[in-house]
């Protein structure tokens, strides 16, 4: 693999000190993101978000445009640009606080405890390095292994992802991979350092329908095999139905409902969840179910339910205050009518 | 409806003015233009000999000192602004007027026409600019109109290729196709939809090209092929004063040199600002 020569060796971060295995894997409490300097009216793309990912579970974070779902992923990785955005609240990964953590600490966590897989695989892989080479590099950054061993592990990973002729393929560049293969390689990269949590941000958007299935099945299989957890971020409820056991529904920066996928998707409590499912599952001829209106434009601090103006169940009180996410039977819902 | 529209316009104008006043680059540029336009009214005759002793250093009366002929350097620098900036704007302007439509047409038509124009432009640009300019001056003579044409000519390929690259992605864009669905002809589409959408790129480039034009003019004058003394022109003045540096009379060459640097920096920074604000 001649493409993996660097100017200087990658910085060795060493193994991170062992994090407490008894803790919840990911615990997000009251996460809010403000954009705008003090004085100007701040925009809040995320407000008071609560989210849990337990060991071994697969959580689907569903949201349409303007929901703030991708911002959540960036926040969990500690990758929001500090200059323009302010993050408040708590994000605890295995007990370790992400909000306000130093960059060095975050670098230790990324890759070895939490990894991410993006929407466009050809964009998340470096085009001038061989695929095997860059995966090997990531391994060497986090673990104390020899060059040869890291290369072998990279080849093994590609093979486990179902890439045929992995040894030869490891020496190829990204542009020589097809779309589906590139996404498998991106998954290999993300899993290379055995993270506890894999975040997949729209991993199948832009892929053909028949290919989407294959990639999703692979992701679930690999995550399960490694005993890791999955946070799947998507706008497509169908994907969540297929792959996740837990689901959280985001709207305009707020969690509207969360709980087990079986419960929420079969009998949604929040009107937005319900209407979203109705629209998604629409099958009648000559009519499609839809939600009238549009997603609210960029807004500041919410003082009312953001869905009120479009909600078929709305009452005047819905515009009076922001409903909190509360425990109800087998799930959590944010709606004053529940 | 009309009331709110003009209120909105007024609001936009005042906020635009406020931005201009707050940005140093815009102020510097305006200062340059003012100096070029009306500066000469406020200074001495730049060709008047013996205004002070020859080679007098800067003083309260003679801000930039005098040169070897006793001419007021300050007055000459101010007057030269008109020449340098004037030639630059006109030359760059001619280059835009010729290069931009050609580039847009090349991108729109494509095919052999496009390839032909592209090759011609590239050949032109392959020549070292200064040598090319020198050659043409040597052949045609260094009159100011000639200089303007020469500088315009070497800038045309720049606009041609710039416009072409800006137009190429637009040609296949959906809104251009939509205009075709509306039955619009090619020339209408170019005029209404394509050119307005590339104009921002052109404006930014224009400023850079003016800076380049000044450099070429100053360089030509410096080697004696451009404007000849005693006509005040920054490059020629630097040449005229270069010999005196070794004798300790630094002001003769320095001030026109600073003028060149300041102008070019302002123009380049202006281009940056325009580009980043769109």
């Amino acid at each position: 693999m001649s493409g993996d020569r660097f100017v200087g060796a990658p910085q060795q971060l060493g193994s991170s000190r062992a994090l407490d295995p008894r803790q919840d894997l990911l615990r997000v409490r009251d996460l809010s993101v403000y954009i705008g300097r003090g004085g100007e009216t701040a925009v809040m793309p995320l407000q008071g978000v609560d989210l849990d990912v337990h060991r071994g579970s697969r959580v689907g974070l569903v949201g349409e445009s303007g929901s703030g779902k991708s911002l959540t992923a960036a926040a969990i990785l500690g990758m929001l640009p500090a200059r323009a955005e302010t993050v408040t609240g708590s994000i605890r990964l295995l007990g370790e606080e992400i909000v306000g953590a130093t960059e060095r600490r975050l670098q230790r966590l990324r890759g070895s405890h939490v990894a991410i897989m993006f929407q466009n695989p050809k964009a998340s892989l470096n085009p001038v390095l061989t695929v095997g080479g860059q995966i090997a590099e990531v391994i060497r950054v986090h673990e104390d292994v020899s060059r040869r061993e890291s290369r072998q592990r990279a080849i093994d990973l590609l093979d486990q992802m179902g890439i045929p002729d992995a040894k030869r393929r490891a020496g190829d560049y990204v542009h020589q991979y097809s779309g589906g293969m590139a996404q498998r390689a991106a998954l290999a990269m993300a899993l290379s350092c055995r993270p506890d949590l894999l975040i997949a941000d729209e991993p199948t958007s832009g892929l053909d329908a028949t290919l989407q299935q294959q990639v999703l099945e692979l992701v679930v299989e690999q995550v399960e095999r490694r005993g890791a957890s999955l946070l799947l971020i998507t706008h497509d409820i169908g994907i969540v139905e297929q792959t996740c056991d837990q689901v959280a529904v985001l709207y305009a920066g707020r969690v509207m409902e969360s709980g087990t996928a079986a419960a929420v998707l079969s009998s949604p409590a929040n009107p937005y969840t319900r209407e979203l499912l109705r629209a998604y599952r629409s099958v009648e001829p000559r009519r499609m179910n839809t939600i009238p209106g549009t997603v609210p434009a960029l807004h500041g601090v919410l003082d009312a339910c953001p869905f009120a103006e479009r909600c078929p169940d709305a009452v005047p009180e819905c515009s009076d205050r922001l409903p909190l996410l509360q425990e109800r039977d087998d799930r959590r819902v944010a709606c004053i009518r529940v | 409806m009309t009331a709110t529209a003009s209120d909105a316009d007024r609001g936009r104008v005042t906020s635009a003015l406020r931005t201009i006043v707050r940005t140093p680059v815009y102020l510097a540029f305006i200062a340059l233009v003012l100096i070029a336009l009306v500066g000469p009214l406020f200074v001495r005759d730049p060709l008047e000999l013996g205004v002070g002793p020859t080679l007098a250093p800067p003083s309260r009366d003679l801000w930039f000192g005098t040169d070897q002929f006793g001419m007021d350097i300050f007055a000459r620098v101010v007057h030269a602004a008109r020449l340098d900036l004037g030639v630059a704007f006109v030359a760059a302007g001619i280059a835009v007027v010729i290069g931009m439509p050609l580039g847009a047409l090349a991108a729109y038509r494509g095919g052999a026409f496009d390839t032909f124009l592209l090759r011609v432009a590239e050949s032109f640009q392959a020549f070292p600019t200064l040598l090319l300019a020198m050659g043409i001056v040597a052949a045609l003579g260094p009159s100011i109109p000639n200089l303007i044409l020469i500088i315009a000519a070497v800038n045309i390929p720049v606009y041609l290729r710039l416009t072409r690259s800006a137009v190429l992605p637009l040609v296949q864009s959906d809104f251009v196709l939509a205009a075709r669905c509306a039955g619009q002809g090619d020339s209408k589409i170019l005029r209404r939809h394509v050119l307005p959408n590339v104009s921002e790129v052109i404006v930014a480039q224009f400023s850079v090209n003016c800076a380049w034009a000044i450099q070429i003019l100053a360089a030509l004058s410096f080697i004696g092929l451009g404007v000849r003394l005693p006509t005040p022109e920054w490059g020629a003045m630097v040449r005229g004063g270069a010999d005196y540096i070794t004798y300790g009379q630094w002001w003769v060459a320095l001030f026109p040199g600073l003028a060149i640097v300041f102008t070019i920096l302002t123009l380049n920074q202006l281009a940056e600002r325009v580009r980043s604000s769109t």
């Binding site: 053909d208 028949t210 599952r281 000559r286 839809t290 939600i291 | 809104f175 669905c181 002809g185």
Partner: protein, 346 residues
């Protein structure tokens, strides 16, 4: 041609349409890719004919050839009997009042520097509205017709939300009262919860004005709501054509079945085994003389390498798969009506 493919009285008749593209491969050699490979179909007045397929199938290209936005390489496209292929732009112009399109991304379909009103005005001109006042009235009426306030016309595209902008795009296309509108993935750029707004709007206009649609989409639920007939396209060829009900309830071609399964719509499919397609769509497969799905199809065998034709069944469905026609039980289909006609390579 079989009426399931070309209904009697079709206003649009496409025969053996071919479209080739030249591309450069990674080594900068020029290669010819055939996006549309001898495709034939007809569209009856007021109906919605949907072409379904994944990216790279060539479906968008068909519409663009129809709208004269790209030239056909070969074949015939007749609108109300008039041949459109080979017409120069000037001779085609009168047809622009009859044939319109709605683009996939509404934000790209409007000139970002012009107001909505200005963009719509071009179409009002095409519709023959003479003076400015008449144009403005037509524009206002069109905008209200799609459920939006006319004052929105003053905004620029960037100031309008996606769903609303797509509705304005529909308003624009319908301004000239066309007979046929090419809908190029009209909801793909929109959120799931609002795609219905555009779909219902299009359906209402169709009910009221009798406009026909050529709907190209990969969203099978949108197609389910809108289409009267459906054609499934794979790597440049039609592999299955039939009425909406038969294609959704009894799909025959393995690719159609794989698509429905991937869309989670297999509950609509009765009594059939699941079909799982492996691998990916690839341009190399498009060069095969035989079935192009064979490299990915779980039922493929040697005979699949021979050229396959579209064959008709008793209930008016057409399939390009010999197994679906001759030995349906072996690929998990119920025993279905026997073949009565061979269709040729149409």
């Amino acid at each position: 041609m079989h009426p399931g493919l070309m209904p009697d009285g079709s206003i649009l008749e496409v025969r053996d349409l071919v479209k080739d593209y030249e591309t450069k491969d990674a080594r900068l050699r020029t290669r010819v890719a055939r996006a549309v490979d001898h495709v034939s179909f007809g569209i009856a007045p007021g109906e919605t004919f949907a072409v379904v397929g994944e990216s790279g199938s060539g479906k968008s290209t068909i519409g663009r050839v129809l709208l004269h936005l790209t030239p056909a390489t070969a074949g015939s496209v007749r609108f109300r009997g008039d041949e459109l292929v080979g017409l120069g732009e000037r001779r085609f112009r009168p047809y622009r009042r009859q044939l319109q399109m709605v683009f996939q991304d509404p934000l790209a379909a409007f000139d970002p520097r012009r107001s909505i009103r200005s963009s719509l005005r071009e179409f009002a001109e095409l519709a023959g509205q003479g003076d400015r006042q008449a144009q403005d009235q037509a524009i206002d009426a069109a905008i209200e017709d799609v459920g939006l306030p006319p004052v929105m016309a003053r905004r620029r595209p960037g100031q309008v939300s996606g769903g609303q902008l797509q509705r304005l795009s529909v308003a624009r296309a319908l301004l000239v009262s066309p007979s046929l509108v090419f809908l190029d993935e009209p909801t793909s750029a929109l959120d799931v919860s609002i795609r219905g707004q555009v779909v219902n709007l299009l359906l209402d206009r169709q009910d009221r004005d009798g406009v026909a649609y050529l709907l190209v989409a990969h969203d099978l639920r949108v197609v389910s709501a809108m289409a009267s007939r459906v054609a499934v396209m794979y790597l440049g060829q039609l592999v299955e054509v039939g009425s909406r009900d038969t294609v959704y309830s009894t799909p025959r071609h393995p690719y159609t079945r794989g698509l429905l399964r991937a869309a989670g719509m297999e509950e609509a499919v009765r009594d059939q085994a699941d079909v799982r397609l492996t691998g990916e769509l690839s341009e190399e497969h498009a060069r095969r003389t035989g079935c192009r799905l064979a490299p990915r199809c779980p039922f493929a065998e040697a005979r699949c390498d021979e050229p396959q034709e579209l064959q008709a069944t008793d209930d008016g469905q057409l399939v390009r798969c010999w197994k679906a026609v001759e030995v349906p039980e072996t690929i998990g289909l119920r025993s279905l009506p026997v073949v009565t006609e061979r269709e040729g390579s149409g």
